[in-house]
């Protein structure tokens, strides 16, 4: 029999064995397939920067008909959750300290009188500034409500307001889902495949089967491919599953070519599996492998622009992030799924991803030694 054919047989045997082991452990398998779906669904519902239900305290120091009317406007709509009305400033600070309220609208003494006499009463918005962004946005909403409520008491001719007419390119309703889900799907799947790939070689080492493998003529390439291919297939299945769920549940429009998206997924997987391989080869125990995997995954995720656009980060971080393969993948998948871009625009990303994949896989392969100790 020829050597290549033997190598192929060995590879097939490796792949079959890995799949059998996966199947023998249905809990793990189920976890790997279901977790990304759960993650994507949860994140899809949870990840929004929209500010709603701000716990609000209305402070009415005037207790007039007008002040009551103005404050009553805050009770409409989902923006503010009114925690109560106070008639003095005594307990204001403690309400913030305990976190019961995040916004207080303070109407001063003589509010009605001053308003009617055009004497410009001083209204105060007090906000919990720990989350600065949320505070600013909530202040904006509150100002809008106040402005509308006091308009009838303004000068003859009414109040002249500047309103904001937002228009979002590509995503008119500003669903953060559109932004997150392509990345989320990948991330969920990548977490599992990298972690599992990282642990799988070390596990053989810990259990003593590694040496047994190494005394066979199994070529190193077949060993590594045999380890990685099942995870790659599993990852693709999990990804398809999660993406399908996401599309169905969140009605995400897929503007570009799904095939192109899968192509990018595939070449990105080269890098993530290569990363797993390097970590596995560099570790002595599964614990080590796991921690390495966890660390790098979190870093890779944070630098990828998944949570926040990386362009706004400090220069040095932005530079580091260029060594993050996920950055290119996230960018490409958003372009494809949301903007409908094609390979004509995205070929640089494809080339970079392929480069990362080749480098990481080569590094991992070189690190795997066909010897023990």
């Amino acid at each position: 029999m020829t050597a290549p054919r033997k190598g192929l047989l060995a590879l097939v045997a490796m792949i079959r064995k890995e799949f059998r082991q996966l199947r023998r452990n249905p809990t793990n398998l189920r976890f790997m397939l279901v977790m990304p779906v759960v993650q994507v669904l949860m994140m899809g519902f949870a990840m929004t920067m929209q500010v709603r239900h701000v716990p609000t305290l209305l402070v009415d120091l005037d207790q007039s008909a007008v002040s009551r009317n103005v404050l009553a406007e805050f009770r409409n709509g989902p923006l503010f959750d009114i925690q109560g009305t106070a008639y003095s400033l005594d307990r204001l600070r403690s309400e913030f300290d305990s976190g019961r309220v995040a916004l207080a609208v303070v109407l001063p003494d003589h509010f009605e009188r001053d308003l009617r006499r055009h004497r410009t009463p001083r209204v105060q918005l007090v906000l919990d500034g720990v989350n600065g962004n949320e505070a600013e946005i909530a202040a904006g909403y509150a100002s809008a409500i106040l402005a509308a409520a006091v308009a009838p008491y303004g000068h003859p001719g009414g109040l002249h307001r500047v309103t904001v007419a937002p228009r979002a390119a590509f995503n008119p309703n500003l669903h953060s889902r559109y932004y997150y889900i392509p990345g989320m799907v990948t991330l969920a799947v990548m977490f599992l495949t990298v972690a599992m790939a990282a642990m799988s070689i070390v596990r053989e080492r810990e259990r003593g089967t590694y040496d047994q493998l190494m005394v066979t003529p199994l070529p190193r390439s077949a060993f590594i491919l045999g380890k990685l291919i099942p995870f790659a297939i599993l990852a693709l299945v999990a990804q398809t599953l999660a993406l399908t769920m996401a599309v169905l549940v969140f009605q995400i429009p897929i503007r570009g070519s799904l095939w192109l998206f899968f192509f990018f997924t595939l070449i990105f997987q080269l890098s993530s599996l290569g990363l797993g391989l390097v970590m596995s080869a560099a570790s002595q125990t599964q614990q080590q492998a796991m921690f390495l995997a966890w660390f790098f995954l979190v870093v890779v995720m944070m630098l990828s622009g998944f949570f926040a656009p990386i362009d706004n980060a400090p220069r040095i971080i932005e530079w580091i992030s260029r060594a993050d393969p996920m950055r290119y993948y996230i960018a490409a998948s958003r372009e494809i799924l949301i903007k409908g871009s094609g390979l004509a625009v995205l070929w640089p990303e494809a080339v970079i991803l392929l480069g990362f994949g080749v480098v990481l896989l080569t590094a991992g392969t070189l690190l795997v030694q066909k010897r023990s100790g």
């Binding site: 029999m1 003593g208 003529p217 023990s372 100790g373």
Partner: protein, 261 residues
């Protein structure tokens, strides 16, 4: 047997084979010749260096110095060729617990490039010989220790290697199963295979054609069990072993028994 073992070709040969771990010498200038068709017993206290020697011969470890050939291939440069000619059963049980017996065998056959037709023929031979039929489709984790060792032997010989290294194959196995297992080893030797086996059971040493006794990385005795007992004037291998090790550990005592003639 038609001819004395010593006249048959040498299939495992080491000269001044040495392996150090840092400052510690685990295998110290080992000289060995093992002949085709021989059952070669490797005795020695814990930590004597038996497993280390076997790992070097199997290509899992590189020697620090010295030379060694297995099946005519140099352990330093041709370990991948060696791997095609040998079977190895490690001291630790190392099959996949979460695969069935058949799946384990299929897997190892695949690693050696054995296609399904050849494997079927091979299983027809191995399964009755090792009496594995009733356990073939059980999960490896669920079968008794004695059978696990047989499965490991089957996996190590599924590709019909010329040389088999067995590192404590009968550890933790009951006397009946051990006896049966040695019957299998004997059959292997009869069919022309060379068996290189370590053990801590002195009764098993009696089944070997030749034994070597190792202590602290060196060989302190080598020969057929009968010759060695006669030389020392002792009744059993057990007594022989104890006497040899005791003598070797006296300060100033050099290696005894020498290398093969």
């Amino acid at each position: 047997m038609l001819e004395p073992e010593t006249e048959r070709p040498v299939v495992v040969r080491t000269r001044a084979l040495t392996r150090k771990f840092g400052a510690f010498t685990a295998v110290d200038a080992l000289d060995l010749d093992v002949h085709e068709g021989e059952i070669f017993g490797f005795l020695g206290a814990n930590g004597a260096g038996k497993t280390t020697t076997i790992k070097i011969l199997c290509g899992l470890l590189l020697p620090t110095s010295g030379t060694g050939t297995v099946a005519g291939f140099d352990v330093l440069t041709r370990s991948e060729d060696i791997k095609r000619s040998i079977g190895y059963m490690s001291q630790r049980f190392s099959l996949y617990d979460d695969l069935s017996v058949r799946e384990n065998l299929e897997f190892y056959a695949g690693l050696y490039g054995i296609g399904s037709r050849r494997l079927a023929r091979r299983l027809d031979e191995l399964v009755p010989r090792l009496q594995l039929a009733e356990h073939l489709d059980k999960l490896t984790a669920s079968i008794p220790m004695g059978w696990k060792q047989r499965v490991a032997l089957a996996a190590a010989t599924v590709h019909d290697p010329a040389i088999v290294f067995l590192d404590e194959p009968t550890g933790g196995v009951d006397p009946v199963s051990r006896r049966a297992f040695w019957g299998l080893i004997d059959e292997l030797a009869r069919s022309g295979k060379t068996v290189f086996v370590t053990t801590h059971y002195m009764d098993e040493a009696e089944y070997c054609h030749r034994i070597s006794v190792m202590n602290a990385g060196r060989i302190i005795a080598l020969g057929s069990p009968a010759d060695l007992k006669a030389q020392a004037g002792l009744e059993t291998i057990q007594e022989l072993f104890l006497a040899l090790v005791r003598r070797d550990e006296r300060p100033g005592a050099g290696p005894q028994g020498g290398t093969s003639r």
